[in-house]
Symmetry: C2
Subunit: 118 residues, 2 copies
């Protein structure tokens, strides 16, 4: 029982250390929403500065998941995902600019109202 307790404690400590490391790494990778705000003028015509789509083909970005935005912008930059507009814009962005834009758009507060059928 003593050994099992030690093992469990060791695993818990390991898990906490890993969580701290992951947290630190996420912080290091996090973008700066304030730096992203002026960059968003590149996105404004289609996605708006408020993150609400201005053309039928473009998605809303307001309050979108930050990690998802980084992944998709990177996919457009590398060519993994293709789109007439985004395949032109994304390759002009640095990795830091992608993080900052993701922080800006994910930082726009959204509230959900009425849900169909509810």
């Amino acid at each position: 029982m003593g050994n099992r307790h030690l093992l469990t404690t060791g695993m818990t400590r390991g898990a906490i250390a890993l969580a701290l490391l992951v947290g630190a790494s996420l912080d290091a990778a996090a973008g700066d929403a304030t730096a992203g705000a002026p960059l968003a003028t590149k996105c404004e015509a289609c996605h708006g500065l408020d993150g609400l789509s201005k053309i039928p083909e473009a998605p809303n970005l307001a309050g979108q998941n930050e990690q998802y935005l980084v992944k998709q912008l990177t996919a457009f930059k590398t060519g993994e995902r293709q789109n007439e507009q985004m395949s032109v814009v994304a390759p002009t962005l640095t990795e830091k600019e992608i993080l900052d834009l993701a922080a800006y758009y994910s930082g726009i507060e959204i509230k959900v109202g009425k849900i169909p059928g509810q």
Copy 2:
């Protein structure tokens, strides 16, 4: 001048008729949010019934542009766009189910609150 006026009027009538036809066709293609609601249980684990992402990899869908949702679901169904989860789920959906799901998620009301730097 008389002929030119007739031609212009004819073109205007043609444009109106075309606009009416396009409108009718969009209506015919529009999904049914109420029919989409029970289908959304397929999406719930990642995207929520409220359209707010439940895992870091998944985007919010609440209030998303309907046309964008139809296009992306169709792209996942055909394989044009790839994703570990969506490439499994989307091919199980019929075209009508895609329209209904897009109507459901786009029909969720969202309001934008505070914007970073403003």
